[in-house]
Amino acid sequence: MTVTEPRTVTDVEDLARAVVARVDPTSSSREEFMGACFDAGLAWVHFPVGRGGLGLPGSMQSAADRVLQGAGGPDPFRQNPMGYGMAAPTILGHGSAALQERHLRPLYTAEELWCQLFSEPDAGSDLAGLATRAEKSGDEWIVTGQKVWTSLAHRARFALLLARTDPDLPKHRGLTYFVLDMEDPGVEVRPLRQMTGDAEFNEVYMTQARIPDSHRLGEVGQGWNVAMTTLMNERSAIGGGPAMEDTGPIAQAVSLWRTRPELRSPVLRDRLAALYERSEAIRLTGSRLRGGIGSKGPGAEGTIGKLVNAELNQEIYEFCIDMLGPEGALYGSYDTADETTAATLPLQRAFLRSRANTIEGGTSEVLRNVVAERLLGLPGDARNDKTVPWREVPRG
């Protein structure tokens, strides 16, 4: 069956089934299958036709994903989290037609992985305070500076880079946004080991790295606005949480409960039920706000979802460790694991990994500020750094 102009959820499902029938995800290569999905417009259904989308509401994406992943297709977010969840919407929103043409497809098929060069040693929560300098030279930019906590930099082909182009302007106004080629000779990646034993993230040093001006996203000095697109999408992507009932971290806890009856107690049952309720309530909230029903404005669902899921994940794995009792204190090995998604890690490793959930992608303190200030309209914090030139802001 062919769907000429898909408009409804059923059309999207039919289209996805047609792709699966044509290119079987269990027997063809990832590139082939994902490429077919992209060409059919099922990568991001809300993107334009020809850019991996169908120009449909974003709420219909889950229908496509259910079919594609249900048939054994890979989860594009897990394949290329920074690419799929953040680079794609940023490039679509702010990049030239040539950049969109060049990057969206190999990004979706995960032939080219992406990373996000935002945080620096002196600029974490206060991202707009960053110091990495980009200076114009002809039709190129020369970049020098240090980034930190850069997930996947050791495997990424391209990076989303936020750099300072004018240190004499107030901090938010002197930033510009670029696509950086990680193969540039001026880029050096050094792995950072984390408390789990893994090394998902890195330090990235840029020494006179070169970026053509055509790889700029948005206008010079507009980097902060462009970065907001990335951050909102980052929070939606990691905060969306599991889309289906009874999946995600809570499913791991429930499976522990079911498979280890000898470890059960009434107190644990109560805790697990409460966690289950919260998982369900936040999952339902994600789909309600994504669907635009009672919408609280762009990014609301991502911010709320990220905030709640981060703390919930931690409590779920705390529950698992408590339920395991003495066994919870064991740790198989601190060797680096290949797998970086909590869902398939041993519980102890997932438990340690979850400590990062309230830090990565915006700390919970910062997100509570965002909810209070943007969604409820409460006043901002008292600050002394917003109007002075970036050079004069105290650091430490």
Binding site: D270, A274, T285, V371, A372, G377, L378, D381
Partner: protein, 374 residues
């Protein structure tokens, strides 16, 4: 499909603003305060207005004077009635009694009561509480004995919402052949209803003592338990909607106050201790709202998932409302502890409602038995 969903959503929003307008105009908080000091607790003229606007028959079929809508629509209205702390027997009459009658598949009882109920001429409630006031539809403590041409009911139930002032009681009772729902007239011999003195003065509870009271079986003894359990679940969803209305109002009062109350030369909402509390209040309200809307949608779809969804809605909404209330008091400081401030009225409603038709612990226990127990 997409457009009809959007249209239904649009209609619900219109209904919502209509009900909010009605509450603000006809039962402003000053009026609620006046009514809560009266013995009856509510204003018959307001009840009549709700009936005139067809708010009592939103989900009742047209043949009984209702408008045959879905529970999602009724939930929008219930949220606003909660937000307005509107006194009156809405939960008992619409949430419980009308639901039980509709589920009873008993045309005679429906004929006798539903149109009058929708018209505002009959106040009713369901009595399925035990002697401690626990909602116990599966194992009623009242008994029904056959008298040949009818039934005689004996037993005590307490914390019965909207029992005081009701004309009709639909009583859950154990008969020899099963659990049944029995229609009992409050004026009849052997029926005693005493008002309880409640913390929340805007919602009334009563103690119902039946001593050989005459009852008419509604529906059959085979389906009585099923009708009562589903009735309870539907009413829990509506009660949850009212809790959301209360919690939303508490959030708004707190945010408004945090923007206008100055200390240390700035609005207190600029301090993270205050603003993060407000952020958490909002998140909690939104999550509870999702759970309630989901349960209403599940009920409308008619499947077997209602007990799970209703338990989630009941515990999430009540926990959110109570916590939003205590947070609101904290954000308001000393003012929040006064009788003059509106905060305590909403807080008491949240606390009182959290004890009706199952506590948070009861709902969570049932949820656990559905999702966790073998």
């Amino acid at each position: 499909m997409a457009s009809s969903v959007a249209e239904a959503q649009q209609e619900r929003e219109e209904l919502r603003s209509m009900v909010r307008g009605l509450c603000e105009r006809e039962v402003p908080l000053a009026q609620v305060r006046r009514l809560m000091e009266t013995p009856a607790g509510d204003d018959p003229a307001v009840w009549r207005r709700l009936a005139d606007l067809d708010l009592l028959g939103l989900v009742v079929p047209a043949e009984f004077g209702g408008s045959g809508g879905d529970l999602l629509t009724l939930v929008a209205a219930a949220e606003e009635l909660g937000r307005g702390l509107v006194p009156g027997p809405f939960l008992g009459t619409v949430g419980l009694a009308a639901t039980a009658l509709q589920l009873s598949e008993d045309p005679a009882a429906q004929q006798a009561y539903l149109s009058r109920l929708v018209a505002g001429d009959l106040r009713a409630t369901v009595v399925a509480q035990d002697q401690l006031g626990r909602w116990a539809p599966a194992a009623p403590t009242t008994t029904a004995t056959s008298t040949g041409d009818g039934w005689a009911l004996t037993g005590t139930s307490t914390h019965v919402v909207d029992a005081v002032g009701a004309d009709l009681l639909l009583v859950a009772a154990q008969a020899a052949g099963g659990v049944g729902v029995f229609a009992v007239q409050t004026g009849a011999p052997g029926v005693q209803v005493e008002a309880l003195s409640t913390m929340d003065l805007t919602r009334r509870q009563g103690r119902v003592v039946l001593d050989g009271a005459s009852g008419v079986l509604v529906g059959s003894l085979d389906r009585g338990r099923e009708v009562l359990e589903r009735t309870g679940d539907v009413a829990v969803v509506l009660l949850g909607a009212m809790q959301i209305g209360v919690a939303q109002k508490l959030l708004e009062l707190s945010v408004d106050y945090a923007k206008t109350r100055f200390q240390f030369g700035r609005p207190i909402g600029g301090f993270q201790g205050v603003k993060h509390r407000c952020a958490d209040m909002m998140v909690r309200v939104e999550m509870a709202r999702s759970a309630v809307l989901h349960a209403a949608a599940v009920a409308d779809a008619g499947g077997s998932g209602l007990p799970r969804a209703a338990s989630l809605a009941g515990s999430t909404a009540s926990a959110a409302a109570v916590r939003t209330g205590s947070d609101a008091i904290q954000v308001h400081g000393g003012i929040g502890f006064t009788w003059e401030s509106p905060v305590h009225l909403y807080y008491k409603r949240a606390v009182g409602d959290a004890a009706l038709l199952g506590t948070v612990a009861d709902h969570r226990d049932r949820y656990a038995s559905i999702v966790l127990d073998d």
